[in-house]
Structures are given as C-alpha cells and as structure tokens.
C-alpha cells in the first residue's frame, strides 16, 4: 500500500534521515521504533508531506507523495495523528471532529463517520459540547484518533500515541489501535514504547540515528536479544 524508498531528509545542514526504506501492506500494523531523536517523527512528516525529502520516493497506492500537497495526500486516503495529539483546544469535541472531515463534501458520509466515532468512543459522545482543552490526556488522544477517522482514511499514521499517558490509558489506546486495524485500517505506528508497539504490530522497523538497523516480524523482534537490550530494558 505504502512504499518508501531510500529517502534522505535533512534540516539545513543536518542530515537527519539516511536512505530509509520501508513498506506497509494493506491491513497491516507496522511499527517504527527507536530512541528519542532517531528520526521517527521526521519520517512520518515526510510521508504526509509536511517535510520534503532531499531524495528518494514515497508511493501510496501508485500515487507519488513527494510532489503532493498535504491536503491532497489526505484525500488519497492517508491521515496523520500527530505527536502530542494537537487537538484544537479552544474548539469543542464536535467541532474538532467536523474539522477532521474538512476535506469531505458528502454530508451523509460525514454523519456516518461521526456516528461511528461516537459509537467507538462513548466518552467523546458525552463530551460533544465540551472544549477539547478541558479533556484529559487520554480523552484528547481518543479525540485525535477520532478526528483522523473522520477523514475516512484507509491508512493512519500515528505518532507516539502513548506519550504522557498513564499505563492503564496506554493499554486502552493500543486496544483502540488494534480495533481500528480489525476494522480494516492500515496503520503505521511510531512509538518509543517499543514493547507495546511490537506486541500489537505485524511487522516492525528499528530506527537508530536516522538509519533502519533492523526490520522484520514484530514477534521475532520482541524476542531478539539486541532489541530486548536496547529498547525493552531486559
């Protein structure tokens, strides 16, 4: 579904991403794990068009994303839940969800998606009229996820959904990601919480200072000694 080939990304003179290639197949959960500063977020930003690569190609179902604007990428069926959630704090829950569907024109489709989000997140349903800034961190993550669902995307990029959440909420959030996947959404997940990320993923890539150093079946990586030492604290 998504093929990233040999991308190089830099910030000014700093070469942040070196020849990274990765692939996500339809229906998969793929995790990208690595330490803080390894370049995980940069890769997601490059995929969704917020940052342009110096070289390399990114193809989503035959469409070249490198030359495509972020709004157009969204209409191709790929949404991005950003790091730190970035919900619109001064807007209500309902308005945040409506903005998720900004690119959609069909009112019935928007209504359907909205009903689906509220069904999945009853907490958001109870808080429709509340300002998003008054929600707890976990609820904001639900809202950010719901907002991405509102785009009607087939594929969702998720950046550190567990960041700053209590262990109990982290479990909830990962269950939600698995649910979304069961519903047919393809997911590319970036996480520092390697253990959780590997436990729900089909495949994974390990990123170190801008390079992919390992990749493979998520279960195998979870058992791998090097990964266990470096990322799982075992």
């Amino acid at each position: 579904m998504l093929q990233v080939q040999n991308i190089n990304v830099s910030y000014g003179s700093i070469h942040a991403i070196h020849d990274v290639s990765l692939e996500v197949h339809e229906g998969e959960i793929v995790s990208l794990i690595g330490a803080n500063g390894a370049g995980k977020t940069t890769i997601l930003h490059t995929i969704s068009g917020l940052k342009r690569p110096d070289s390399g190609s990114i193809v989503l179902e035959g469409h070249d994303l490198v030359k495509t604007d972020p709004p157009k990428i969204l209409t191709l069926g790929m949404a991005h839940v950003p790091e730190g959630r970035r919900v619109f704090q001064r807007l209500t829950v309902q308005e945040n969800l409506e903005l998720g569907a900004y690119i959609l024109k069909d009112k019935d489709q928007i209504q359907e998606l909205m009903a689906e989000v509220y069904r999945r997140f009853p907490r958001l349903d109870e808080r429709r009229k509340q300002l998003a800034g008054t929600l707890s961190g976990g609820e904001q993550q639900m809202l950010a996820t719901g907002r991405a669902m509102m785009t009607g995307a087939k594929m969702i990029l998720m950046d550190e959904p567990s960041m700053g959440l209590s262990p109990l909420l982290v479990k909830d959030i990962f269950r939600i990601i698995e649910d979304l996947n069961d519903q047919g959404k393809t997911i590319l997940l970036v996480e520092q919480n390697a253990k959780m990320a590997l436990s729900i993923a089909d495949r994974a890539y390990v990123l170190e200072t801008g390079k992919i150093v390992m990749s493979g079946d998520a279960h195998d990586l979870l058992e791998d000694d090097k990964v266990r030492k470096a990322y799982l604290g075992a």
Binding site: S48, P71, L74, R86, L99, I103, R147, M163
Partner: protein, 293 residues
C-alpha cells in the same frame, strides 16, 4: 442628559473601534502579527469613498462597495508583499513589527503624494432626521453606525462559528500545523482573514468619516492606535475581546469629555493601556491556554 448623550456617542465611536479592533485581533490570532498598517486601511477606505463619490460622482452604495473591495485588496496585497515571506521563514516578531510599521508609513506617504497632505472634506453620506427621546437627541449617523456595526459583528460571529471557512480560521489560528493535517489550506485561510479584517475596517472607515467628515492621509494613525488599545484591553487575539474593548475605550473617552476633561481623553485611553498591561497583560477576555498531558 449630557451623560446619556455622551454614552450614546461613546457607543457609536465604540462600534467603529470594535470593527477596527476585530481586524487587529483576527490577524493577530491567525499569524501572531500586530498589523500596524491596519489603521491606515481605514484611511484608504475613506479616500476610496471620496474618490468614488466626489471625483467620480458615484452613488453611496457604489462608493461603499468600492471602498470595501479596495481595502480588502490592499490588506491582502500588504500581506502578500510585505509579510508572507517573513512569516514563511519564521522571522522574529520584531522584524514583522518593523515591517508592519513600514507598510503603515508607506501607505500614509503614498496617499499624501496622491491627494496632498491637506484633508479632504467628505460629502454627507447618512442623512435624515434625528431620533428624539425626551430631550435626548440621537443623530441618524449615530443610529446607523451602531446598527450597522452590531449587525456586522453578529454576522462575523456567525461566519467564524458556523461556516467552513470560519472553522478553518479558528483551526489555523490555534494550530496551523494541525490544520494542515486536516487538509485546510492555511495560506488561503490567512489571505481570507486579512481580506475580511480589512473589509470590516472599510466599513468602519465609512461610518467614521460620516461622523467626522474630514479625511487626511494620517487619520488612520490615532484611530488605528486607539482600536489597537481596544484590542489589547479586550484581549489580543480574542474576537469578543475586540468588541468589548472597543466599547469600553470609547465610552471611557466620552465620559472623560462629559466630565469636562476633553483634553485628557487620549491620556485616559493610553492610561488604560498601561494599567491593563501591568495588571492583566492577556486582556480582559484573553486566555493563556496550557498544554495538557
């Protein structure tokens, strides 16, 4: 009775301050820039009405429409030519501020060159019998000013709260990066905001020059500055704040006059600015939002 009529004058002038302050706050909200050229947009609007009515002999509605269009265009032009590149390159705020002051001086000098520095007197635009309530007399201009402003402000609220572009404006103003992820064209939204703010200033200009029918290339300076004080008082970036601030500033001005201290009106306005900056720098309705984890 003197107080009542001064308060009504204050409400009328306050409506104009509010319309102008809205432009400051919309632009500040969306790009974090204090657009000091905004006051001069009022002046541009005044001259457009003058050109349309006196030079070209057009009817009032044509003049008003022309003024709105030219002001919106001027606002967008300044944004495109002077601010856009600085905003895109993440220039420090002080550079933006200096550029804005430069744009303001440019407009003043351009109009001085075109129309000379001596003022032009405006034709009377709003005529009709005043309204008498007891011994209190309210002029037609005052009534029209208050009514038009209130209608426009209500309309603006509706646009910002209910329409697609309004939601895009609010999203862009809160978090432009996240707005892009929603598929919002933030550049177009910013252009729209400059245009809308300038259009409101054009209406403010028509109303102001009906009440004070003399326009000069520098008229935007003090009017713009007072509207800016109103914006800070209400809460920079906040739309309800701009309206509240506009009325409070103008009513304090006219009450100062009612007490027979006309010479102190400007001192009172800027005294309020100093006090609000010391006591409540975010303004009456301004908020500091904190990030939640």
């Amino acid at each position: 009775m003197k107080f009542a009529s001064q308060i009504i004058n204050g409400l009328s002038l306050g409506s104009i301050y509010a319309l102008v302050a809205l432009g400051y706050n919309m632009v500040y909200g969306i790009v974090g820039l204090i657009n000091f050229a905004h006051g001069d947009i009022i002046m541009v609007g005044g001259y457009m009405v003058y050109v349309a009515m006196v030079v070209a002999g057009a009817p009032l509605w044509v003049a008003v429409l022309a003024s709105i269009l030219v002001c919106a265009f001027t606002g967008i032009f300044i944004q495109q030519v002077a601010y856009q590149r600085l905003l895109n390159s993440g220039a420090p705020r002080i550079s933006l501020l200096i550029t804005a002051i430069g744009a303001s001086i440019f407009l003043q000098n351009l109009f001085q060159m075109l129309f000379s520095s001596s003022g032009k007197s405006m034709p009377s635009m709003i005529t009709g019998a005043p309204l008498n309530i007891g011994s209190l007399q309210i002029s037609r201009v005052t009534m029209v000013t208050i009514a038009v402003s209130v209608l426009l402000m209500a309309g603006l609220q509706l646009v910002v709260k209910k329409t697609r572009i309004g939601k895009a404006m609010r999203a862009t103003s809160e978090d432009a990066g996240a707005a892009v992820l929603m598929g919002i064209n933030t550049k177009r939204t910013i252009v729209f905001t400059f245009g809308l703010g300038s259009a409101l200033a054009a209406v403010g200009s028509v109303l102001y020059s009906s009440a004070y029918p003399l326009i000069t290339p520098y008229m935007g300076g003090m009017l713009g500055l007072k509207a800016f004080v109103a914006a800070v008082l209400g809460g920079i970036g906040s739309l309800p704040g701009a309206m509240l601030g506009g009325y409070l500033i103008a009513v304090s001005e006219s009450l100062t006059k009612a007490f027979g201290l006309s010479k102190l009106t400007d001192a009172v306005v800027f005294g309020i600015l100093i006090v609000i900056l010391l006591v409540r720098p975010a303004g009456l309705l301004g908020k500091n939002t904190k990030e939640k984890v």
